[in-house]
């Protein structure tokens, strides 16, 4: 467990920089996290993040791209536009959720 300083705040992160305590997250932090990975936040980003967080709170798991499309209504195409190249991981990173389980 490491502590990172983001926007002057101390947050717990894992070895790869994903926040490990979703409770430390808020929307202001999300803006800073997005900037860290070169994403300019729009309302579409915020809506995807809001769904991902509420889904995590009920299922205990970071949603996969398939779940974002079927339960969250954000198509995979759109996810790639919003969070280019690695949408599931980038979404989790900005939403302050654990890295999606790399299906083994």
């Amino acid at each position: 467990m490491t502590v990172a300083t983001i926007e002057g705040r101390h947050v717990d992160v894992d070895a790869e920089g994903f926040m490990s305590d979703p409770q430390q997250w808020d929307e202001a932090l999300a803006e800073a996290l997005a900037k860290n990975i070169g994403i300019e936040m729009t309302d579409a980003h915020r809506a995807a993040i809001r769904f991902a967080r509420s889904d995590f709170m009920t299922t205990g798991e970071t949603p996969t791209l398939r779940r974002m499309a079927t339960a969250g209504g954000v198509t995979t195409k759109d996810m790639f536009l919003l969070f280019p190249k690695k949408p599931a991981k980038k979404l989790a990173y900005v939403a302050g959720l654990p890295k999606p389980v790399g299906c083994v």
Binding site: E16, R66, R67, A71, K85, K86, C103
Partner: protein
């Protein structure tokens, strides 16, 4: 008289039935198995069939003799499980009531879920080796192929035997070398993962093996559709191929969705320690059918049944289930040229280098290519039929052990610290 119904007589279902038949008192419990197929397929052999190591007949056996004689076997497809009343609705057969239900219907390739994959090119330039027919067609295609661009591809995870497509790439490289045509073949490995495999240390080791064989890696590729002669990703990348060997989306049985028991891919949502379906007290899912955060693999089915059987006896006696499955998986990874490596891991410990203690046979090297690992992989087929499926004890630990494993190497490449790089 109480009734245990087991859906599916694949690896997990067969082991569960054989083990429980020995320990459940016959005066109190009846076991009913539902399985539409007449045969049991040795799935690990499908990887080798396209390269001519096995014939079809080597991989299938009638399934009835693999089950205990006292159990009833119903040959029918499951329509739906009604968990409210505790019965299984079947197609063309009366419903079967259960006191306890075990879902072991596995996961299966679904090429129809990717646009363009299940089209006229399937079996010609587009292939898969997760079914017997697919593996046979691929064998034919490989034997006649003159060379060109071979693309080995995974649609989406999870898939059963997640190392199989990598092994296929290694074996293909070896196959073309032996035929003296490797210089006429370009091999590309296309995956939705960010590397050759999921867990960092294994991913690095296996990625190195691709590199040494001149196999290109195309990571983070999430396929949208298959055009004629090209894979196209959601972010508009196009990978041309002359021969595509893909692993289609893997999904659990459709009745799982109709019974409201599954996730988006119809894998049953369960407690990963006990396999009890979420919110229910008499429905379990075991093997590939369950949504577990570990590999979908025969070794997982084997290790989990051991935990399950002990727990199940407690559960039906009204006592708490005390054992928890640790996610233990153990896979030989065939790397070509008569060698293989071995990985051993669980929910919390990724595959590590070192050695794996094995009585009689001697220690096996972990994450290192050796001849003896390859022999171990081949020796597994008779063990599967004669020891594993009948539920006899194999001389390997059920829970993962750290014995012989090297501590996590302190490699800065494996613990990247800058967010931009990792995400």
């Amino acid at each position: 008289m109480k009734r245990l119904v087991v859906l599916g007589a694949g690896t997990a279902g067969t082991i569960v039935v054989n083990k429980l038949d020995r320990v459940l008192p016959k005066s109190e419990w009846e076991i009913v198995v539902v399985e539409p197929s007449l045969v049991h397929l040795y799935q690990p052999g499908l990887l080798f069939l396209p390269f001519g190591r096995y014939e079809q007949a080597d991989l299938v056996k009638p399934n009835q003799p693999l089950l205990p004689s006292g159990v009833s076997l119903i040959r029918a497809e499951v329509e739906r499980v009604d968990t409210e009343v505790g019965q299984v609705l079947l197609l063309g057969h009366d419903p079967v009531e259960y006191d306890q239900l075990v879902i072991a219907t596995g996961t299966a390739p679904r090429p129809d879920m990717t646009p363009g994959l299940d089209g006229p090119q399937m079996g010609k330039t587009v292939h898969e080796f997760y079914t017997l027919e697919g593996a046979v067609a691929l064998r034919q295609a490989l034997s006649q192929w003159e060379g060109g661009r071979l693309v080995v591809h995974i649609v989406e995870l999870p898939i059963k035997c997640p190392v199989a497509p990598l092994e296929f790439a290694f074996l293909a490289d070896d196959h073309f070398r032996q035929r003296g045509m490797r210089d006429r073949v370009e091999i590309t490995y296309v995956t939705p993962l960010s590397g050759a495999f999921t867990k960092p240390i294994a991913s690095q080791q296996l990625g190195g093996l691709l590199d040494r064989r001149g196999i290109d890696l195309e990571p983070d590729f999430y396929v949208e559709r298959v055009d004629e002669g090209a894979l196209v990703s959601f972010d508009e990348r196009s990978i041309p191929f002359d021969l595509l060997v893909t692993v289609p989306l893997n999904m659990g049985a459709d009745f799982v969705a109709r019974s409201n028991l599954g996730d988006e891919l119809n894998h049953v949502k369960v407690d990963p320690g006990t396999f009890l379906a979420n919110g229910l007290s008499n429905v379990f899912a075991i093997g590939d059918a369950a949504a577990l955060p570990t590999s979908k693999a025969g070794s997982v089915a084997h290790f989990s049944v051991d935990v399950f059987v002990e727990n199940f006896l407690e559960h039906i006696a009204g006592r708490p289930m005390e054992r928890r499955f640790d996610g233990h998986a153990n896979c030989f990874v065939e790397t070509g040229n008569g060698k293989a490596l071995l990985i051993d891991f669980n929910y919390t410990t990724e595959p590590l280098p070192g050695s794996y203690p094995l009585p009689v046979f001697g220690p096996l090297r972990l994450l290192k290519e050796t001849r003896i690992n390859h022999l171990g992989k081949l020796a597994f087929r008779p063990i599967y039929w004669h020891v594993l499926l009948p539920g006899r004890r194999l001389p390997v630990p059920i829970e993962m052990s750290m014995t012989g494993k090297d501590a996590v190497p302190d490699d800065p490449d494996l613990t990247v610290s800058k967010t931009e790089e990792k995400v």
